[in-house]
Symmetry: D2
Subunit: 480 residues, 4 copies
């Protein structure tokens, strides 16, 4: 009865991104294209997915918990999402609040008009806005920043929806990309610092926006450009137009998008991810060379950086770890745990590659270090005589307040351990990180990147007692 | 591929009630008691169910589509609903909008405080309030009247939650029973006309409210009294107190609760349903006697009235139809439909009882008349030589705007057919309804009943162009 | 974590029947008709359901755990079950072995031919046959008696399938009704003592067989007659023919079919169940009159007998208990159990009927007595001043070996308690059972009934160390 | 209603393996270890999974459709699978018969003893044995070769289970690896030609067998050796022993295990897969060099061969295609299909890697060629100026009868097209396959490999009119 089966969480050692967004205007299969776009953006959020579509008269919505394909697998759903315009959203949830109420898009009515909204990012002044709105009689049903923006839109005295949105967004501080859908317009916006990526694409008859350009490739759309920091893109039957928020702060692109989040085949912030990520590996090889036999990556996220490291170092690239993709959400682990079972379930070391070798293991980043320690052991158990870890980003020392799930300093191994200590902790023979300078020199616009999680230099003020999840302390819905 | 399987809907020939509500304060197993209470009130709504519970610090919520037992069958759910106070809700949905967003209770935050709300009824001025609120910047995420009340509460300038609720409710027109839950109070309220029932009960240490007293019996609580029309009951750690809305209109209890909705073992409006329902049958026997051999009921809802008819007429009561309770929500019917399959799936005639007999068939009410026609045929096919239909309520001629799903005159057979025509339509040998006077004389407070659906005398003004489902025309979520 | 939620089982105080069978030959919608027939026979088994259909070339099969409507609710299933002939089966499982492997029909191949089989009953010599077959190299994949019959058919040296089946059945001892389906024939058979019922019906172009005639009514088929004890009915394109097993023992119809199992609207053993059941109530009134005010039934199974009791005694029939039909399979009960919660979940006492009354409660049978004790308390708590229990069958004292789940004497209250003790145990004011003579005089062919569970007079020899579930001790599949 | 959504099948262009098997004896967590072993063998079969476990007295079984983690995700299942010994099975189904009856292990009773069996392979003389067994009265409930073996065991006149199994297996022709479980023994066997791999491992207290050694790594077991062709391994409380079938034909290891099926981190046939697969790539580079800029693999199966090609050719290895692992079983594709959507859903080309490059694309094998054609287009659309395809195995020209799903010549592009034609068909700039000689020289025991699918030289006789799926034509169960 009280059998003690524990669950191996899918969560690994990486930080988590909050969301991916997508929008399309002018396509007879708008919802289907959105579905494909969300599928291509699945890596940005696996907890819930949703699509809102408008046929010009009303907006239909379907949301659900789970991966895109499963949320929409009932063949009765897609035909309900009629119309030529649609927006979609993938969400990764914080903590355990697997709450359908927090799934996006959110669909509301305001002054007789339906508006759907989806966003990616994190507001710094959510609590202040929340308090202000509540003091003015607003009620909140979700913990999503989208609901705050929608309240501000509904309360704006401006005349048009574009102006209302501009009015609303000008009150927001922090990181955000929004896509809004009304029955006649698709509006996309990016915060003035431009923390998170948002791109514009087009097909013959339609315009498309997405967090990453990989969502364009799958539907055959052409990449045009990034939405600029502080820019609002308005798409309607008369075409595409642009307006800008007044604020013009220093740009602060999230460099972690290059390091880990975005797909290597995407263009973000106007630059190819693959190219930047490979450069990170090359710089790492220059900064932290190693007397070794082969270079391997922790698959799949460090593959590109490892190739760069191998190329610059002249060492041979090898596939020393095979990733198992059959693991589900609730993998039941025996109660008498096999040693290193967590990583064994996900990775298999290739003994023939590793045995007797001095191995450089390239990882893209270290957050907590727990998985990496097990991996080093695994690689060693497969016969590697030396395991040298090289990380294609600097030590992560500070929490992020702009949409990445790096919550508290306590969890960050680099905030309390120097490199030598971390090396001992993960039981590696040597450990080296890429320097901040090396990192910034790997991307085209190095001076426009946010490096707060590495340096603690936050581009915005951070409120005292900031909590990221507004209701984490006092809201416990368990709805599914 | 394109096999044509149709679905026999569970919907029969009866009107539908919108909801059942329950609340408890001061019980260490508050959520469990609420679960049992909802189970006892299941007949008032089978589409969705939900419970909100407070431990004094935060409110937890779980809602889902389906019957109570299935919504809460995952054993992980109940332990999450901690605390000494809870409210619950069963919902029957209008039209096809099987939308989890519309499930209740609704849980919101307003001015730093959580409030959950559940209601039963229908507001007459929902559209006006909705427009007024939207004009003042409110956003709506559901089509539920509860959300309107919560907006009004959040916008009230009054000091305490009781006063805010009083302030809010005094703006509502129509039929409602509300239960509200905060982290320190349980507040129940009934509209000044008292359309829908709401009762107060108690156990040793706790107070309970419910739509019907049958919910008290299952948890061993004692019935105290009805919540009075226009009364607000406030329950907190200091005990139970009462306040009244200012409006004092004529009382208008829904007489259909006695005829069909409420369970016969319940007390509503201070009176036993079984007693009133039996009296309806007796009066019917007096008004519409019949030269026949036996009396049978359309089970189960007409059983009590049929017993009354048999008792007053001296005819023998028999069980001539057996009801099949194994039918699920989606019973697949063959494409080449068996004659009268819809009723055959639900009812089996007992030939031994019916053969060669002149039968009085007692039904509680006729709305559309479609099922009854099939039943008369079924009874005749089992050998009955005469089939006389007696109905323990007057002809339903007008739509209800106070919480019952009798939508449009077009569907009501009695609004376009006289009794003789209806008799021919249902193919009975004779048909008689109870008179309005007979109906009212069957209940203790006959002069306080709403008879609008029979007489068209509405106790409130009905707005022009009234539509019951606010967003029926423009909102199409398909969320599950 | 270790929250203690217990489950209220749907199992009540009644014995359980093992199965219901159905077959049809010559109907273009054979599988659909079988589906409806199984639905009408749902009371004979709720654990699993299955249909095998033949299009003359191959037999298709679908089986699943659960009620008929849920097993076949996926609209892709029925179109796969093509053909003009089909058989179906409802199963109630013993113990907890909810094993799909044991669901029926079973479909096998033997000598290049497919045969599907479904049965109702219980073999006395299953163990002997099993051992004999295993010694001759047979392998067993299920614990079903059907598999034994199929092995014997496969090993028969006879020429035709009819002869093989006759050869096979002549080796079986005990209670059985079989329906077999090949690609050209439907064969139905009943054991020579005729323990379980099996009927023949017809429509314009097809022949039908079913455990009870209620399965004919739902598809519009006409009842012809019972399959005779020891008779094999062979239906093929040339029509219907009959042959008989050689053995001609004394007939032994299961009288419990009249008392409880069969639906009142069915004909079984050539007699209307409703008529016999009502006579049981009348005899009970004669044998055990009572000075009381009203007669109520434990719904729904005792309704008919209670009506008979009321009619014969001149006491008024009332509905004093309402049955709740919303309970699902896994109703979660709070850990701090409400007093009598098990029955409160299923029955609501109608106080208005019971208060101040001396009540005769009619039940059809008493097996363990646990539920009845709670019901007596419930009726008393609703205000009844006297509770007299009258049972329309004799005390159940001995296990059944012919297809009813009355397993061991230890569970039978009457095997260890006299009537007075049982009366005290269930806390009634008086208790009386119908006599065996009274019972037998209530049915037309009283001298042909099996009364073993009441009298211990078994019509067959019972092997030493008989165990009903062959593999109960050593087989633990958990397949779903 | 009749919306035309098609399904993108997960099936790609590769042949399919039928199964993976696992067994363990002497471990207190035998079922859990089996679960992990099956998880590691998931690539060998994704349709159904099952575990049979013995506690020495009885064998428990759980099987289900789907991936290992989902079949066993209900936490109530594993505790039921008690005991120190267990076997498990992953199955890939032929055609659409997703039938739970065909899931393995199969559990039977024979002569009072339970035996469970799981197998990998395909029998050549299944039809003959089947007919012979049916003629002797056997009945068949599945279409699995395991059932044939179990019938033969049950009918063997030998004394011990080892002898019975030896007796049974000696009648089988074709490819098989079996694991059998009784309440006291675990018996593993491999056919005399040794088509499919089977390995022995050990932990401190237990012995383990598995299709591939990767299943040992995950549970911390040590690889000992291959089960020899024709060898029976018997494991019981007294330890491990070995016996051999009499037949000593030429060994015929399936070379496709090296090319594609087995995991690179496994040892099969006594040799590391990674090493052999890399050698295939090196030989390919020698035989078919290419004037190009980079080498990429079709991930993930061709990665190792591509590394070998790159190493031998001196060309740079790059990751030019990213594989999307979020695709589910039922990915709904829009009805207006995007060009090349099938491959776009699974692969993303990395433009930064491919643009302007002359690319060598290494694939492990070509069966139908349909996916490869789309991939070549995709790579070209990402900017590759030349696309040269190199295949690390010879052209597949003949069906396999030994357990691989290469069904008919009609589907094999190489059986009807010469290399030039195939090159034009897949729209590549050049195409080259590895030669048979090159392939055989890449593995240690090249002369012991079966090359039938490349050469048509079958190591066994193939019966006339051989059909692989015995009942494909006449059995249509749809059970789930």
């Amino acid at each position: 009865m009280s059998y003690d089966l524990s669950i191996i969480e899918e969560k690994g050692d990486h930080p988590r991104e909050f969301c991916g967004v997508f929008g399309i205007f002018g396509d007879p299969d708008a919802a289907e294209k959105t579905y494909l776009g969300l599928y291509a953006l699945q890596h940005r959020g696996q907890e819930s997915a949703g699509i809102a579509a408008s046929d010009g008269k009303q907006i239909s919505l379907h949301r659900g918990m789970g991966l895109v394909w499963s949320v929409f697998q009932d063949p009765a759903i897609m035909p309900e999402l009629e119309g030529m315009q649609a927006i979609g959203h993938n969400r990764y949830s914080t903590t355990g609040s697997s709450d359908l109420m927090n799934a996006q898009p959110i669909l509301i009515r305001s002054r007789g008009e339906q508006i759907a909204a989806a966003h990616n990012g994190n507001l710094i002044n959510a609590r202040e806005l929340h308090t202000m709105l509540e003091e003015n009689g607003a009620i909140f049903q979700t913990t999503s920043d989208s609901e705050i923006a929608l309240h501000l839109i509904a309360r704006s005295k401006k005349a048009t929806i574009e102006e209302k949105i501009e009015d609303s967004l000008s009150q927001l501080e922090g990181a955000y990309c929004f896509v809004f859908l009304t029955n006649s317009k698709l509006i996309a916006a990016r915060d003035p610092r431009g923390f998170r990526p948002l791109c514009i694409g087009k097909t013959e008859n339609s315009f498309v926006v997405a967090s990453e350009s990989c969502a364009f490739d799958i539907i055959g759309a052409e990449y045009i450009r990034s939405v600029e920091p502080g820019e609002l893109i308005v798409i309607d039957d008369s075409g595409i137009s642009s307006r800008f928020l007044k604020a013009r702060p220093q740009k602060s692109f999230c460099v972690f998008e290059y390091i880990y989040f975005s797909r290597p085949d995407s263009i973000i912030f106007g630059e190819k991810v693959d190219k930047a990520r490979r450069m990170l590996g090359k710089k790492l090889a220059e900064e932290a060379p190693c007397d070794a036999d082969i270079v391997i990556a922790i698959p799949d996220s460090a593959n590109t950086a490892a190739l760069g490291y191998a190329q610059a170092s002249g060492l041979r690239f090898e596939i020393g770890l095979i990733r198992n993709h059959y693991v589900g959400r609730t993998f039941i682990a025996p109660h008498q745990k096999e040693r290193n079972l967590d990583v064994k379930v996900k990775f298999n070391p290739v003994t023939g590659v590793l045995k007797g070798k001095r191995v450089v293991v390239v990882e893209d980043s270290i957050v907590r270090g727990t998985t990496l320690k097990q991996l080093v052991r695994l690689i060693r158990s497969a016969g590697a005589v030396k395991v040298h870890v090289r990380v294609s980003s600097p030590p992560v020392k500070s929490p992020c307040f702009y949409g990445i799930d790096i919550s508290s300093r306590g969890e960050l191994i680099a905030s309390s351990h120097c490199v030598e200590e971390t090396c001992r902790h993960i039981e590696a023979d040597s450990l080296a990180y890429l320097s901040v300078e090396g990192m910034l020199s790997s991307v085209t616009e190095g001076d426009l990147q946010c490096t707060a999680c590495f340096t603690g230099d936050y581009p915005t003020e951070i409120p005292q007692n900031f909590v990221k999840d507004l209701f984490a302390a006092d809201c416990g819905t368990t709805e599914k």
